[in-house]
Assembly symmetry: C2
Homo-oligomer: 375 residues x 2
Amino acid sequence: MDKKEFKVTPYEVSGDVDYDKLIKEFGVTKIDEKLIARIKKHAKEVHPMLSRGVFFAHRDMNWLLDEYEKGNKFFLYTGRGPSGKIQLGHLQTWHFTKWLQDKFGVELWFQFTDDEKFLFKDKSYEEIQQWTKDNMLDVIAVGFDPKKTHFLIDTKHAGLMYPEAIKFAKKITYSTVKAAFGFNDSMNIGSIFYTSMQAVPAILPSVLKGKNIPCLIPLAIDQDPHFRVARDVYPKLNYYKPSIIHGMFLPPLTGTEGKMSSSEESSAIFSTDSPKEVENKIKKYAFSGGKDTLEEHRKLGGNPDIDVSFQYLRMFFEPDDKRLKKIHDDYKSGKLLSGELKAILIEKVNSFLAEHQKNREKAKKQIDKFIFKLT
Amino acid sequence: MDKKEFKVTPYEVSGDVDYDKLIKEFGVTKIDEKLIARIKKHAKEVHPMLSRGVFFAHRDMNWLLDEYEKGNKFFLYTGRGPSGKIQLGHLQTWHFTKWLQDKFGVELWFQFTDDEKFLFKDKSYEEIQQWTKDNMLDVIAVGFDPKKTHFLIDTKHAGLMYPEAIKFAKKITYSTVKAAFGFNDSMNIGSIFYTSMQAVPAILPSVLKGKNIPCLIPLAIDQDPHFRVARDVYPKLNYYKPSIIHGMFLPPLTGTEGKMSSSEESSAIFSTDSPKEVENKIKKYAFSGGKDTLEEHRKLGGNPDIDVSFQYLRMFFEPDDKRLKKIHDDYKSGKLLSGELKAILIEKVNSFLAEHQKNREKAKKQIDKFIFKLT
């Protein structure tokens, strides 16, 4: 793959993603200072993932805030395809989602797309069910408000979701999904239908309450094609188009191309990794922007832009702008060595995971509170 | 369309159907005397639709009877796509199904494919729901045993069916459904997925009871492609392949090509037609095998093979073989005139519908007994 080539679909992220190009291709809007200021007006603060451009693009956020300011509260919708362990890239999006929930005081509908993962992966139905249960623990551990958070599991809630999904499906052709997802005729017919199920949670609260409620979807941008496909259908069914806020991918340990992936052990730090595993992975795999020798590094400095450890701090683990700037400048000047930078990250990730894993244990008794029940 | 050309898929029946050719194309087996004798051994009688070759082909009926004789009872599964009024062609298949239920003392799972009709027809979700309720009355009016008959409505029972449907869907490619149903890329993605939902009732009792139960599907042969597509999947999911018994189409009033269709008023007699409507339709539209003039008819006789009124008597309304033979011979010799033949049919259909409509009224209070509930 050419340096300039990259691919971003829900089913493949590869290459060196050019986010500005993606904004044009997907037809989304870059988040500007004005929008950030507008969010700040309500949130009273700006999340570092917003100010640092990690959440960098959106659809219809201004409309959503117009409605919010009129007293028409939105709900949040995000999700997880449960086919493996949770890694830091997932947690990044969910922590930002939690911030939105806290600051705006809104409901979150969280979808577990177990049907999708069963249909797209070479894994058994039972294995996917086990990952669903496992992944729920991580979602709960993020700290979402149990009173305001509802888990939807596609197979478990199919009685509610399938009748709505076919309303989307009726208005989406095979040609459309073929183009949006890069499918071919040897795809199974479930995977072709699936995108209709992902469209549903954005309207489900409206269906249940019998009135139109705005929806905001925080997601990593590879999921955008699902909503691009369904986008024109929402108004045809008399629902609002959901607003979307798009995040960049947390890069894999091994470099800044593609995204952190659960299917490659060496590329990811998992939510259940031990402190020793985290240390070893970062020391062994985390791509360094430092120079080859100590002397050279001291003289020429490192490159934080391509240094994965620095990027993790910037994108997730060092919320303090001043401290981040000092790390950046020290690394760039050569004052801070790669090993020292890695040590900072190791400490940050391990203290984050210690807290996460503690919450993850407690979550085992909380699952039932989160699963949506029709009352 | 050439005289020799015909098309039979769940979504189109046209032309002069050559059933022998269809047997080869679909890879089904013609029902022979030996199989009829074997059925008779258990049923104590032979239904005229069997002896007269109206139910003319099958898949794996001998295996089904082997199992039955070992004490491994089967269940019946058939269904209805609720997008319009019920006509005589539907009732024909269901009366044969009732005979099977009575004679073998077995359960019937009856599927209402409301999702299919919503996805394939230019009708609203609400309209399809109304037809579902309406059509249930006709199914109940046939006289199925309420203790042994379970209605499945795809959208209503999606919680049960969708998780099973995706197991079929995962093993069926778009190429396969494209070939089997004549689909193209402008089809909506729900219609492409749908066949997986039709596969499910053949295993649902096995799923619910946690053991493999043989299944027999009586159907008009245009529905066979759904099961041809799913056929190889059943054993992969560790279920028996369902056995099938195939019926011919009750021809439209207007001639012996195609099938009676609810969407053409002039081609069909509906379950709710008044005696006067039945009389008018048969007099006006029923294609006659008689000669143009009374003199010619008396001299040369009529042709019962192409006479729709005679075919209705043979295929459905005159169970008595002797009486049918007399009508046949008298018509062929010219003794019986077309008008007289039509009068016989009018009387038969009206007395049949009087009974059906009485039962249909009573059925309004029985729907709830028939809808399957998980207990």
